[in-house]
C-alpha cells in the first residue's frame, strides 16, 4: 500500500490525548463520523479540520492517542480524510482502535518532518520518503496481527471472513 500526502503538525507534539482528537463536547452527542470530523483537534488547533486535504498525514511525537478509549477519535480522523497517523509512539487503546477500523498508524522518528512536507509512504517496505526534504525514513515494523487486520479492512471484516480471529501465519 502506497500513501501520498502532506505532513500536518499540531501545536502539541507529545501525549496528544483522545480528548484533544475529539472533545467530549461532541463525542457524546454526535453519532455521524463526518460531523465529528469537523471538530477534530479543535481544542488545540482552531480550524484544523477545515484545512485538511484528503490523504494528509497527522504527524506527532510520543504517546499519541493516550487517555480515553473513545473509538470516535480514530473514526473522526479517518472520516476527515487523513491517510495515516505518523508518530514516535502510540497509546495502546488508540492503537488497537485505529487498526480495528482500518486507519493505519506508523511508528517512526518524526522529529525531522515539518508542516506541509510531502510524503510518500510504502507500508509493505516500511519506508517513508520525505520528498520535500529528500530524506528516507524507516517505519518500525507493524506487528503481524495489525497487518492482518489492515489487510482484511478492519476487525469486523476479519472476524466475519474467518468466523473468528485467525492470526496464524
Amino acid at each position: 500500500m502506497i500513501l501520498k500526502g502532506r505532513v500536518r503538525r499540531l501545536s502539541v507534539n507529545d501525549n496528544i490525548n483522545t480528548d484533544y482528537v475529539i472533545s467530549g463536547r461532541y463525542k457524546f452527542k454526535i453519532q455521524d463520523p463526518k460531523e465529528l470530523a469537523k471538530h477534530i483537534f479543535e481544542d488545540i488547533a482552531e480550524d484544523f479540520s477545515s484545512k485538511i486535504k484528503k490523504g494528509d498525514f497527522i504527524v506527532a511525537g510520543d504517546n499519541f492517542g493516550c487517555g480515553s478509549s473513545r473509538e470516535q477519535a480514530p473514526m473522526a480522523i479517518k472520516a476527515a480524510g487523513v491517510g495515516a497517523v505518523i508518530a514516535k509512539g502510540f497509546a495502546r487503546i488508540f492503537y488497537r482502535n485505529s487498526f480495528n477500523i482500518g486507519l493505519p498508524l506508523l511508528e517512526c522518528d518524526t522529529d525531522s518532518m515539518s508542516e506541509g512536507d510531502s510524503l510518500e509512504v510504502n507500508i509493505e517496505k516500511g519506508i517513508i520518503i520525505n520528498k520535500t526534504q529528500n530524506v528516507e525514513l524507516h517505519i518500525k515494523s507493524i506487528p503481524y496481527v495489525m497487518r492482518k487486520l489492515l489487510k482484511d479492512d478492519g476487525v469486523i471484516e476479519h472476524f466475519k471472513k474467518h468466523g473468528g480471529f485467525k492470526f496464524e501465519t
Binding site: 457524546f28 488497537r96 476487525v155
Partner: protein
C-alpha cells in the same frame, strides 16, 4: 531470568487455555464486559455490522448510563434511548441514570471477582485490578466482538513491578500516592505494560483506596494495574459477589521488565497541574492558586471513604463564597449510605451542590462546565485541556482532602491543618 509467571501471564494463560508469556498473542475467553453511554452507541453499531444476534452470555455484558446522565441534550437522549432499546432486545443488563459510575457499579454489583479477565469500553476499566482482576479498556468495536463471541485477542504484556513501602503520613491518601507514581513514570512510562502494585503500603490501604490507585494506572499508559488478593480484598469481593474468587499471585521468580520502589513515608499531598496528569508537584508548589470550582466524585474518588474524608475536613465550616463545590457520589448505594451517615446533610449545609450518582462534570458535557479562565480543583483522573468542556479553563487534580480544604479557602490549600 526467572521461569515464573506474573499475574498478567497467569490470568491470560488460564483464559487462553494454554501457556502464554509476555510478547505472545493470546485469544482468550472474557469473564465480563461493559460499555457506557459514551461508547455504547458504537458498540451497538459494530454488533450489528458483525451480524450478531445475541450476546455470548446475557449475564456477562452490561451497559451503564453514567457519563452524561441524566441527558443534557437531544443527541445524548437519542443515544440513551438506543442503549435502552438494545438492552431489551438482546436481554442484557442496563444500569440507567442515577445508578452510578460504571467502575464503582461493576465491582459493587459483584460482576467481577479475583482472577477474572474483563474488558470495558472505557479506559478506566483498569480500576478492578485492585481486586485482582485483569481488566482493561478497549474501544467499542473490540467490545462488540467480545459481546458477540465472548472472546478477544490480547498481546500478553510485560510487567512492571511497583513496590510501595512506608507508613502513610497524615493528610496523604492513595490519590497522592498514585499522582506521585505517575509523575515518576510519566504519561507513557508504562505503555502497554501490566503494572503490579505491591508493598506494605498497599496492604495498609482499604479496598476503596486501592481502587483509586488501579484506576489511574492508565494515566501512565498501563494496560492494567494489578494487586494481589489479600484477606481484605477477598473479604470485600465475597461481600459483594456470590461468584467464587480465584486469587492469582505472581511467582517469586516471575520475570519483570522493571522493578521500581517508592518510599512514601515523607510524601506530602500531591497536585497535578494543567494540562497533563504527570505534571505533578507537592502541595507547596500549588498553594494559593485561586480556584473557582471544586469537584469531589468520579470513578477515581467518589467512594464513601472519599466523602467521609471531605466531611472530616469541612466539619461545619462554610465553603468559600466564591467557590462552587460540586459533589457526585459514585453510586446509589454510596449516596444512600452517605445520607444515612448524615454526610449529605453536612455537605449541603457547608455549601456543596450534590449531584445524582454518575460521572458528573468530569467529561465535560454538563453539571459544572467551567467558564473561560476559571480554575477547577478536582478529584478526577484527567486534567486535559478542555476535559471539563472548556479548553480555556484550568484543571488541577488532588485528593478529596485537598479538594475540600481548597474549597474552604478559595485557593489550593494544604489539608493537613484541618485534620
Amino acid at each position: 531470568m526467572g521461569k515464573g509467571k506474573t499475574i498478567a501471564e497467569k490470568i491470560l494463560s488460564s483464559h487462553a487455555k494454554k501457556d502464554v508469556r509476555a510478547g505472545d498473542i493470546a485469544i482468550c475467553d472474557v469473564d465480563f464486559c461493559l460499555g457506557q453511554d459514551g461508547t455504547s452507541s458504537i458498540i451497538i453499531d459494530s454488533f450489528r455490522k458483525l451480524k450478531a444476534k445475541r450476546a455470548f452470555n446475557k449475564k456477562k455484558f452490561s451497559m451503564i448510563i453514567d457519563h452524561s446522565a441524566p441527558s443534557p441534550n437531544l443527541g445524548v437522549s437519542a443515544i440513551h434511548r438506543k442503549m435502552r432499546a438494545f438492552a431489551k432486545e438482546i436481554g442484557v443488563g442496563l444500569y440507567d441514570i442515577g445508578e452510578g459510575v460504571c467502575h464503582q457499579l461493576v465491582p459493587e454489583e459483584g460482576k467481577v471477582v479475583c482472577g477474572d479477565l474483563v474488558l470495558g469500553a472505557d479506559s478506566h476499566t483498569c480500576t478492578y485490578g485492585a481486586i485482582n482482576v485483569l481488566s482493561t479498556g478497549v474501544g467499542s468495536t473490540d467490545l462488540a466482538i467480545t459481546v458477540a463471541s465472548g472472546k478477544n485477542w490480547f498481546l500478553v504484556p510485560e510487567t512492571i513491578k511497583v513496590v510501595i513501602d512506608g507508613r502513610i503520613p497524615k493528610g496523604v491518601y492513595s490519590k497522592d500516592i498514585i499522582l506521585h507514581i505517575i509523575n515518576a513514570f510519566g504519561a507513557d512510562g508504562c505503555t502497554y505494560k501490566s503494572v503490579e502494585f505491591t508493598g506494605k503500603t498497599i496492604k495498609e490501604l482499604s479496598v476503596d483506596a486501592r481502587f483509586t490507585i488501579s484506576n489511574m494506572a492508565v494515566e501512565m499508559g498501563a494496560k492494567c494495574g494489578l494487586m494481589e488478593a489479600d484477606k481484605k480484598a477477598l473479604d470485600w469481593v465475597r461481600r459483594h459477589s456470590k461468584r467464587r474468587p480465584r486469587p492469582v499471585s505472581a511467582d517469586k521468580d516471575a520475570r519483570y521488565a522493571k522493578v521500581r520502589r517508592f518510599d512514601i513515608s515523607r510524601l506530602a499531598p500531591q497536585v497535578a497541574h494543567p494540562h497533563t496528569v504527570d505534571n505533578v508537584t507537592d502541595i507547596q508548589g500549588a498553594k494559593n492558586i485561586k480556584i473557582d470550582q471544586a469537584y469531589l466524585g468520579t470513578c477515581t474518588n467518589g467512594r464513601l471513604q472519599d466523602l467521609r474524608i471531605a466531611g472530616k475536613v469541612l466539619r461545619k465550616r462554610k465553603i468559600n463564597k466564591d467557590v462552587k463545590f460540586i459533589v457526585a457520589p459514585a453510586s446509589k448505594k454510596i449516596f444512600l449510605e452517605a445520607v444515612k451517615e448524615g454526610l449529605i446533610t453536612q455537605l449541603v449545609n457547608c455549601g456543596c451542590t450534590v449531584l445524582s450518582p454518575g460521572c458528573g462534570p468530569c467529561v465535560g458535557t454538563h453539571c459544572g462546565v467551567p467558564a473561560d479562565n476559571e480554575v477547577v480543583i478536582s478529584t478526577a483522573n484527567r486534567n486535559f485541556k478542555g476535559r471539563m468542556g472548556n479548553p480555556k479553563s484550568f484543571i488541577y487534580l488532588a485528593s478529596p482532602a485537598t479538594v475540600a480544604a481548597s474549597a474552604l479557602e478559595g485557593k489550593i490549600a494544604d489539608p493537613r491543618k484541618y485534620l
